[in-house]
Symmetry: C2
Subunit: 571 residues, 2 copies
């Protein structure tokens, strides 16, 4: 089976596919999506219409025409208002969902890689069409600031999806559909075989989404799976259902409009009190797991889902090594942005700053003591968060109440351990949402030996200034934590090329990527689709590279047929 509407979609998007292939090859910047919500870039009224679309969803059941509905679930609370969204979603019978997904999968196998690419691009642009509504839904579930919710959970996230689409296409395209093979076999002479190769998906994929970025990791998983022939069941975080539900409903509509079975994309929502994730993952028809979330549950998956193909992105205990400062203002500004950005609730946010006890040299010949560096960073963070409007744009809201507790716990434990609070955390007053759950970064000073305080990811806006014996100890310590506890983005500030090169080797051995001398002209932890590989797979932060061939090549398999061509036909 091939599909005429799907072929038409390929024709519509083939230039995008070509451009995506080019971007993944050069790893230069590219995006087919509008990244900014600026009114100048959109038709008049679009921002307001998107907001209205979001608001129209509140306080009522979210209809999702999918199989197996057995009841309703959903108790999302907005981190901005503290109020329930009042939306409920289908509670599903997993058996019915898996069964429908497997049925949908049958028809999907006949689509060519080009047709699949056409459909997936169409789905991605359908997502972009609801980027404004998605931004509001993401704000009021994940707590992201508006700008981040629009671009980071919109265009930037869709780009990661397209990147996975492109890599999947490359892997599929590597398998020719037919071949003619001729070989001499002694007295038989030349034997000619007709060979045919058929791509098969592995089975149903369960995509477990996280609370703070409901779709950023979901899009790559969705498109990688659809491209390689696997239906997806999305399992949103109990407080991040709405953006996922909106995506699933729109994707199902597009699939149906294309004459395809919409059950290639379904959703299984749950509530904290009645979780469904393990049931989904242990279902005999679950073939692939794409997981984003805590390291603890990630470990459970790795140990208990051994028959499945598992891709994970878990915690990053991200370190910063400060050796010297070629651009002190740029470094401090960049780091301050990094700690404030979405209140450090990103997997790429820095946490631990390893600084030599005798301070760091500046490019102009000056020198900052350990304390002076910490003071500068704390002052800059304080300045960034002083004006509520600026704080709101930078920090957004804190998704989980647990993060606020963590701040309290860290403060208490640091003081108990003889450390020092350099800058306390405080809630800032959000200008638009007086009841927003907010927290500025807590900056504390500790000794290198007090690793129990900072040796794991603390999912909260917390900055540890770690007093290291010297620059080599700083480097080795940061790298060791990355290797043992996982890191997604590590940072280095140094003007010494020899030291930088050594740091590259040390972090390579630790299996961690390193961002060097990132300044404040861009978010230091910005992860660019088509260009930045995400987790390395060499440390405990997971293995979902987003995307490389390893992210896609195992998701499908090849079945082959061969048949001799009669001698006369083979001439």
């Amino acid at each position: 089976m091939t599909s005429a509407p799907a072929q038409a979609l390929y024709e519509r998007h083939k230039d995008h596919l070509a451009a995506g292939l080019e971007a993944c090859a050069t790893r230069a910047y590219w995006s087919p999506f509008v990244e900014s919500p600026s009114g100048k870039l959109h038709a008049p009224g679009r921002p307001e219409e998107g907001k209205a679309r979001f608001e129209a969803l509140l306080g009522k059941p979210f209809e999702l025409d999918q199989p197996g509905e057995t009841g309703r679930v959903g108790h999302e609370v907005s981190p901005y208002t503290g109020q329930p969204l009042g939306v409920d979603y289908p509670h599903v019978d997993p058996d019915a969902l898996f069964s429908a997904a497997r049925k949908a999968m049958q028809g999907w196998q006949g689509l060519t890689p080009e047709e699949r690419a056409g459909i997936c691009f169409e789905l991605a642009f359908a997502m972009e069409e609801q980027a404004f509504a998605n931004a509001h839904a993401t704000m009021h579930t994940a707590g992201q600031a508006y700008l981040m919710a629009f671009s980071g959970s919109g265009a930037n996230a869709l780009d990661r999806g397209i990147e996975a689409l492109v890599y999947a296409y490359k892997a599929l395209d590597d398998v020719v559909p037919h071949a003619t093979w001729r070989k001499s076999f002694g007295r038989s002479g030349i034997v000619t075989l007709d060979k045919a190769y058929r791509i098969r998906g592995r089975g149903v994929a369960v995509v477990v989404c996280c609370a703070t970025f409901p779709l950023w990791n979901a899009y790559p998983a969705i498109f990688a799976n659809l491209m390689t022939g696997n239906p997806v069941i999305l399992k949103p975080h109990p407080n991040g259902i709405l953006p996922v539900a909106m995506a699933v409903r729109r994707m199902r509509e597009v699939l149906a409009e294309t004459g395809l079975d919409p059950n290639m994309v379904t959703m299984a929502a749950d509530e904290r009190e009645d979780p469904i994730t393990i049931t989904l993952l242990e279902h005999p028809d679950c073939a692939i797991v794409d997981y984003t979330g805590s390291q603890r549950f990630g470990l459970w998956i790795e140990q208990n889902c051994r028959d499945r193909l598992v891709y994970t992105e878990t915690a990053g205990c991200n370190g910063v090594v400060v050796e010297s400062l070629p651009d002190p203002d740029g470094a401090i500004g960049g780091l301050a942005n990094g700690f404030c950005g979405f209140s450090s609730q990103m997997c790429t946010s820095p946490q631990n700053v390893h600084i030599p006890a005798d301070g760091v040299a500046l490019a102009d010949g000056g020198h900052w003591s350990f304390e002076a560096f910490g003071r500068k960073l704390a002052e800059t963070i304080a300045a960034r968060t002083e004006d509520p409007k600026r704080a709101a744009g930078l920090c957004g809201a804190v998704q989980a109440h647990r993060s606020l507790e963590l701040i309290e716990e860290v403060r208490e434990r640091v003081i108990e351990a003889g450390g020092r609070v350099v800058l306390d955390s405080r809630p800032y007053d959000h200008p638009d949402f007086p009841d927003a759950q907010t927290a500025t970064p807590l900056v504390v000073e500790v000794d290198a030996g007090q690793e129990a305080l900072f040796g794991e990811e603390i999912f909260a806006p917390v900055c540890f200034l770690i007093r290291e014996p010297d620059r080599d100890a700083a480097l080795d310590h940061a790298a060791r934590i990355a290797r043992e506890h996982g890191a997604i983005s590590s940072y280095l500030y140094s003007a010494d090329r020899d030291y930088i090169e050594r740091a590259q080797d040390v972090f390579t051995d630790a299996g961690a990527s390193l961002w060097i001398n990132m300044d404040q002209r861009m978010p230091i932890n910005f992860a660019a689709a088509y260009s930045d590989y995400h987790v390395t797979g060499l440390n405990p932060a997971g293995n979902a590279c987003l995307a490389d061939l390893a992210f896609v090549a195992q998701r499908f398999r090849i079945v082959q047929f061969r048949e001799p061509v009669p001698a006369e036909a083979a001439e």
Copy 2:
């Protein structure tokens, strides 16, 4: 680090690499190796010299200059003479071996993909240079006939190795070493980042080899791992050490001659009474497992090595569906060869022939009853094995005494169950080796319902003629066994295109490849490198495709660095 000698090897072999890439893309026939031992294709005296080289190894310690030797092991017995080879090998301390491998890995990481390809091609040609000696070593361990031992365990096996090399090169080549990325960030204007991407192997690979093809699966694993940066520890079967030891010693010599650490390739031999495999697989430094062998141990690996990347090739319970015969002589001849070939000790050998109870139509309008089909096949097998010289060339020897016991057990169980022996198995008299352990195929008739008799792989020359209610039942039964118990090669004989197409769909759903109407002009189960994918990964026969991108892309990971380019330099 790059290596001048390695660069020279790349220059020497770059045309081979280009030709290999082309072959994998078109999946047409290609080989850089001489497949036949015919004297016409080799320098005078080469066959004799190879035999002498093998004989010179017998009855003495095999010196392998590798770390961690703690004693000697080895009790191989020739299936042709029944006599011990009298060769012993190092018994190793796994810690020392892993430690040396990890050290070797460090230096290897700096080699470019091209340099690695150059080295691996050089290793492969070094293997070809000892193809005659290897053929004798393979005969007297695995039991293969001389011709198969030369080509099937020589050129054909090396081709599978080169195929893996080529796929690994493709996957590595997909990662550019450097990129320049430019993006506008609002008021900051254009930010330019220099990016660098570093390939890293995952760690030490343990390659577990099997008894009947000591190197066929080992070469793909060795080259896939070396290409992607991973050292290999080869673990030969206790009765298949010599060919592996010869390969390891020669590879280590070539590596040392190239100025590289030879500990990228080492061997850990053992004896049945004191096995070392689990110790190797459970070693904390074991990152990758490439396994060929029994389904039972394969399952143990899948369940117990969950932190490792695991590739397996286990059992094939291969079925033949006979619907009708477009070329009766070709089909019967092809099948007879398939059952006799290396006494059915290949993972691609057929076992179960599913035949409609009311027989099969012939192309000329004739018809064979179920019994007539079985009789024709049995007669042809009997004819093939009547002349000892012909039997020797076709059947070779039986590697394991257990296979002879299995023949006895099957005969007994079939008779007990009311089945019928159509052709009994017998030892044939090998013309050159009077004490050879031999067995011609046992052909038995059973009912479809007696699946307990034939529903798993029986590693012995046994042919089940299975009486099926009709052609649809035959198809469904064979496909179900493939899906549930694993199949590497399945076979179909039919003149009905509609039926063939349906069979393709049914076998696709079972995750099994299908060879259609294979006749006697070539071995029906010949698996061609660069063209035939091996196991599909969709049934219990394993997941080692040998080779596709899935076989290589997970064996390495990517570490990244990025650094802003100052504004003036970025112009």
